[in-house]
Symmetry: C2
Subunit: 414 residues, 2 copies
């Protein structure tokens, strides 16, 4: 089955918001074997929506539409869908009850525009919105499936998980699909591709290898599609093992997880704890780790000692060290990791200190210079990196190298 | 002038990466008065690319393409563009020099596939890539402009800023455009729209008002377009003042900035310092603040005391308080802010403690319960929030309410 996604709303076109919905939906659909053919973002304009629906209907089996279901005047998706199918609008009583309940819960007066949120085209099956007021809509017309959902990510996600995905699976038209993922670090995309050339050339035609580069990491993904799931699983596993044997030194994790998830799993299984001391990464690593449910079982917490005073006060970095070598130095990051053991009481730690930019560099210590240290109570390692001038890129790269080295260290210590 | 964006690459369709490029490009183009008509994401497939180019050429004056310029076999944009224009490929010597220089800098052997990155269609003006190996391309054909750039965000951004935007401006075909932005918090989109209904109805036809809701905040954006810039500026300013007078209590910032930027500017101008103590937000607020260049002038740093031990050790939260009231309580977050003053030495502070979920709730303290406190050395305020079950949403909402209340507090103290 082939799908197209249509996102409606000027706010995406003028860049006020980033379209995170499409990536999430793409992943969910890909996982059940639905192939996304095209993603189209258009404005809240009736002729544009009608044209795009027509084009998508010609190419795809499933058309998923997000956005334009809000209460304000620029939200015209519902009326346009009714026109597209040549039907009128009706009030859906379950949706109206939901709207009333939400407004009551927050003790807010119900406006006329809010009641209109319970209106849906007559030919649709309404999809209950468990996270907000606007109902979703499921249409089956001319042999195609059309789904319209709100653009608010967590509302759309709940509808997809509770209603849309199960209902697509019920059509029984999907092949089996198997994915396997490997996370690599330390080698660029073209060098990995060179090393894996022979394996890639010999891949069976129903299995594909994709490279997903991200600052300092490349995720490798094998996807197989076919009629018999167990055969597929064996075939994809075989290819995965070939890749692992070909580039063992660059594989940092086998599976879907992020670096942070990998670290948390490793430490949890050995009942060890982790803390962070981030100067130049400013909380980025802490945020990554704590975004993972259950991280509190391993992660004791961290400090963001942006000022030198706090490096001393929170971690016991010696003033002499800061004066003699500076905050961005091997000596300082090593003492920061020591401080994690002594002051924060964690078994494992990571520390970062650098000049993230765009200003603040000197000839000796240019923008982009970053020192990272990691270790446990027995052993601390440190490494210098020279990144570029972009602040956000430097923060993200620093976090990635810090997490990569910590994960390797944990594996060595096992 | 009307533009369309085309992003090429399976990794967007299968949701391996989020298309952040389009939003950034949309913003940059909108700012110079180029209207984006459509954004289309398609796979690395020659027929799809050719079809999409043809359709976009029919609708738009400028077609900007990202992606598919990498060294691996699935990158086919360049060959397809050459076919589209009916020309061959040539080696661009400046691009080749750039590739060689980059490989030398990293002491990496130059592969044949890497040399091919210096190839471009014969009819293009190559765009130098200051951040990577693949050159961009500028085409002027049949009265339309086509631009092809790498999908790597910082490479694309540098090309846009250094080459593409200036060159589009040189065409002299753009109207004047004026934007004004207001950040509001505390009232939902439909209620704001209701309050602003009359102003919106009376807007001149060349000025538009857009609502951009984000968890707990709505950004209002007035955009005017017209021939004479100074007239426009006056007109948009007039409308902005009307809005401010209509909803003064919900305006938290006048201008483009984020909440964090607003707080940093306010505190910098009064030479005050800031620190954070984040339990449930886990570094999210620190990361937001430190992503802003120059934040170190105001932000001393923060702690992420995930465990109770660290709340006591780093901030001096009393064990008795934690035992009697629990970590998620008014008493604890108030002591966390006190700890910011006493242990971290900052003038202003924010503290968060809550149950982010999805697990860890109890009947007394359900998932989504969050206590936030903020204040300076004279006065500390605290407030309880009950959010939902989604961990990432809860973290983001908690950060937003904490920053919103701190900003209001700073304004009150002025």
């Amino acid at each position: 089955m082939r799908a197209e996604l249509i996102t409606i709303g000027d706010e995406i076109l003028i860049g006020q918001i980033i379209d995170t919905n499409s990536a999430w939906m793409g992943r969910e659909l890909e996982n059940i074997g639905v192939k996304i053919r095209q993603i189209t973002s258009i404005s809240d304009s009736k002729p544009e929506i009608l044209k795009t629906l027509r084009e998508a209907e010609n190419r795809a089996d499933i058309i998923l539409i997000t956005g334009g279901l809000g209460p304000t005047r620029d939200d015209i998706t519902k009326g346009t869908l009714a026109e597209y199918f040549g039907v009128g609008l009706k009030i859906d009583s379950a949706a109206l009850e939901n709207v009333v309940a939400i407004f009551n819960r927050f003790s807010m007066p119900l406006l006329e525009v809010n009641k209109k949120q319970a209106e849906v085209p007559e030919n649709c099956i309404p999809i209950q919105n468990s996270k907000g007021t606007a109902p979703g809509m499921w249409f089956e017309e001319r042999g195609k499936i059309f789904v319209s959902m709100p653009g608010v990510p967590h509302e759309m996600m709940a509808m997809m998980q509770d209603f849309v995905i199960p209902r697509i699976l019920e059509t029984g038209k999907l092949p089996s699909i198997v994915h396997q993922t490997l996370l690599t670090a330390g080698l660029g995309e073209s060098f990995l591709a060179k090393k894996l050339e022979e394996i890639e050339n010999q891949l069976p035609s129903n299995i594909k290898l994709a490279y997903l580069p991200k600052l300092g990491q490349v995720r490798l993904r094998l996807s197989g599609m076919g009629p018999v799931k167990s055969d597929l699983e064996r075939e994809v596993e075989e290819q995965k093992q070939k890749i692992i044997q070909c580039i063992p030194e660059y594989i940092v994790w086998i599976g879907d997880g992020t670096l942070s998830q990998a670290i948390l799993e490793k430490l949890k299984s050995s009942s060890k704890t982790l803390a962070t001391a981030e100067s130049c990464t400013g909380g980025y690593i802490a945020k990554e780790i704590t975004s993972i449910p259950g991280s509190s079982q391993v992660y004791l917490g961290g400090v963001v000692p942006y000022s030198n005073t706090l490096k001393t006060r929170l971690l016991g970095v010696k003033e002499g060290t800061l004066n003699q070598y500076g905050a961005v130095s091997e000596e300082t990051v090593r003492e920061m990791v020591q401080g994690i053991h002594e002051h924060l009481g964690a078994d494992f730690g990571i520390a970062t200190s650098g000049i993230a930019g765009p200003d603040g560099g000197s000839p000796d210590k240019p923008v982009g210079l970053v020192w990272v240290a990691w270790g446990n109570r027995n052993r601390i390692e440190a490494k210098k990196f020279q990144f570029g001038k972009d602040r956000l890129v430097n923060i993200e790269r620093s976090a990635t190298v810090a997490l990569t080295h910590l994960l390797s260290f944990i594996k060595e210590e096992e």
